[in-house]
């Protein structure tokens, strides 16, 4: 199954990535190969197979509602490219 340029563009957009013409063409092939590989599973009869919600057998891993340590503000902002008034500063987003 060959996926279109538009589909590559759409997926790239969702992931906030941008590709030039040559890269897009290469990805068309790569992504198609992935989909074909997974498509092999569709040949199986899964009528009686329960969907897998989680690969582990564990359930109910919970913690008590207790307040603990928080990070000091300099650690919180250590990786921030820009900060102002103890807040992260990002390019303006319009509501």
């Amino acid at each position: 199954m060959k996926i279109s340029k538009e589909e590559v563009g759409y997926v790239a957009d969702l992931a906030r990535l941008s590709f030039d013409e040559a890269q897009t063409e290469k990805l068309q092939g790569d992504l198609s190969a992935v989909l074909d590989y997974v498509a092999a599973l569709e040949k199986l009869d899964t009528t009686d197979v329960k969907p897998t919600e989680h690969v582990l057998e564990l359930v109910n891993v919970l913690r008590p509602d207790v307040v603990g340590e928080t990070l000091p503000i300099d650690k919180v902002l250590a990786n921030a490219p820009e900060a102002e008034n103890n807040a992260f500063r990002v390019p303006r987003v319009v509501e």
Partner: protein, 480 residues
């Protein structure tokens, strides 16, 4: 052509946990920017979220209170989107297996009782706060990231603005009552989204809907519904199509407008959250949670009518706010005068609360003080009228016992008939005209004499006792 309005709601409520949903940061409102943060809620790589057990319990409680079925098996999912209020670039939520499904809420509307279906309630995390000020970008505060939420989704069963408001208030009251959320609207701990469409009257086919998000007061909710339904009807009458979109409600201007900034289709690419394992609740565990539910307003209302003999109206007012009903019950446990307590709580206390800018949760004195005040009226120490002035003092000095206020101000009624008799005798002597009037059949003069007595005793005379003595003295004068 006439149109029907079709409304469904999505209600987000922050749960009243102490710590966040997946980490131990505090949830408290109003802290300095980014002080309630840790590697988990900052979305650092390699961290492992662990679900707060109280979140599961509260979500199930909300579901039980809204007559939902609680799932024996549910799971968390990732909802992917990029926005700076979400450091992880996905919101942990629930997609196909929410914790509660299929509930019903019955509301009392001006046109009678109506049922509103609850489609589902799911658990999710709140996002951070964006501050847009000046021209220099947007500031991000992550304190609210990871504060636990439930999202309640209704069926499109509401048909007008008033019903939408009544429904929203009922949800607020229920969540507040069960203690699941503090529902402080001014702090955004409960928010309403409205999905609205219109269709030709009687038609079974739904029209195209629009969505208005984050309506943060009941008034805004009502006005937004009124405006948007009118707008859609006008568009259709002009022969235009309704565009499916999110619209922004501007409460100051009273208009909704299109949010054209996000033209792209929403594609959240939900998938099961690999970092969190499923939530399993046995029937026994669900029943255990049910047993912790406090009595809900309706049941309480019935009990107030049946056990305390209160009128329906009193029962409704007292049970509408949990704080008020708690205060009532604590008072009634101390003094068995339900109707009197109800009157004080409904009639005398609210204007004083308003004057002091307090809410029903903030009555400054204890139920024991109210019970003591009522006791003082009961045993004749003070009149009802004096009690009102004592109540006003209790708002000023809540730590003082009513008895202390009465003693300090010398407000106790004059029950010593000797002292009272002397005062009355003097007044009767000084007012021969009144005695003449009474002798001549003008009973109104009694009122004047009573007024004089009250004035002389600064209102402390026991009215029944005073009236009795006045009659005796006047009669004695006439006879002599």
């Amino acid at each position: 052509m006439e149109y029907d309005i079709v409304i469904g709601m999505e209600i987000h409520a922050e749960l009243a946990t102490k710590s966040k949903i997946f980490c131990s940061c505090p949830t408290e409102f109003g802290a300095d920017e980014n002080t309630h943060a840790c590697p988990v809620c900052l979305g650092m790589p390699g961290v492992l979220p662990v679900l707060n057990e109280k979140v599961v319990e509260y979500a199930a409680m909300a579901g039980l209170a809204l007559n939902c079925k609680i799932a024996n098996f549910s799971k968390m999912d990732r909802k992917n989107y990029f926005y700076p209020d979400l450091p992880k670039a996905y919101q942990t939520s629930q997609f196909d297996l929410p914790i509660c499904t299929g509930g019903t809420v019955t509301i009392d509307t001006p046109d009678g009782k109506k049922d509103v279906g609850i489609t589902r309630i799911h658990i999710e995390e709140d996002a951070g706060k964006l501050i847009h000020e000046g021209g220099g970008g947007t500031l991000v505060d992550v304190n609210r990231c990871g504060v636990p939420l439930i999202e309640i989704v209704t069926e499109p069963d509401l048909t007008n603005a008033e019903d939408a408001r009544i429904f929203a208030e009922k949800i607020r009251d229920t969540l507040e009552y069960t203690g699941v959320s503090d529902c402080k609207m001014q702090e955004g701990s409960i928010r309403f989204d409205v999905n609205l469409s219109v269709k030709p009257k009687g038609s079974t086919e739904l029209g195209t809907r629009t969505e208005m998000k984050n309506l943060n007061s009941f008034r805004a909710l009502m006005r937004a519904v009124q405006y948007e339904s009118k707008r859609q009807i006008i568009e259709l009458k002009k022969g235009n199509r309704i565009i499916q979109e999110t619209r922004k409600w501007d409460d100051a201007k009273g208009v909704s407008s299109s949010m054209r900034s996000k033209e792209e289709a929403h594609d959240y690419r939900y998938f099961p959250e690999p970092d969190l394992v499923p939530i399993v609740l046995s029937d026994e565990r669900i029943e255990e949670i049910r047993s912790t539910l406090p009595e809900l307003p309706e049941a309480k209302r019935l009990r107030y009518v049946n056990d305390f003999g209160l009128p329906e109206y009193d029962a409704e007012v007292l049970t509408a706010k949990k704080a008020l009903s708690d205060f009532f019950e604590e008072s009634v446990a101390l003094i068995d005068e339900p109707k009197m307590i109800s009157n004080w709580l409904m009639v005398e206390i609210p204007p004083l609360l308003k004057e002091h800018e307090l809410t029903a949760e903030e009555i400054p004195f204890t139920p024991a003080s109210l019970a003591e005040l009522i006791g003082l009226i009961q045993d004749g120490t003070i009149s009802g009228k004096i009690a009102k002035s004592v109540l006003a003092d209790m708002f000023e000095a809540p730590e003082k016992a009513p008895k202390t206020i009465v003693d300090e101000k010398g407000l106790a009624q004059m029950n010593d008939s000797g002292e009272l008799e002397a005062i009355i005798e003097k007044i009767v002597d000084e007012n021969p005209k009144s005695v003449e009037d009474i002798a001549g059949g003008n009973k109104k003069a009694y009122g004047f004499l009573t007024g004089q007595v009250m004035k002389a005793t600064k209102g402390k005379a026991n009215p029944q006792e005073a009236n009795k003595i006045i009659r005796e003295k006047v009669q004695a004068k006439i006879d002599s």
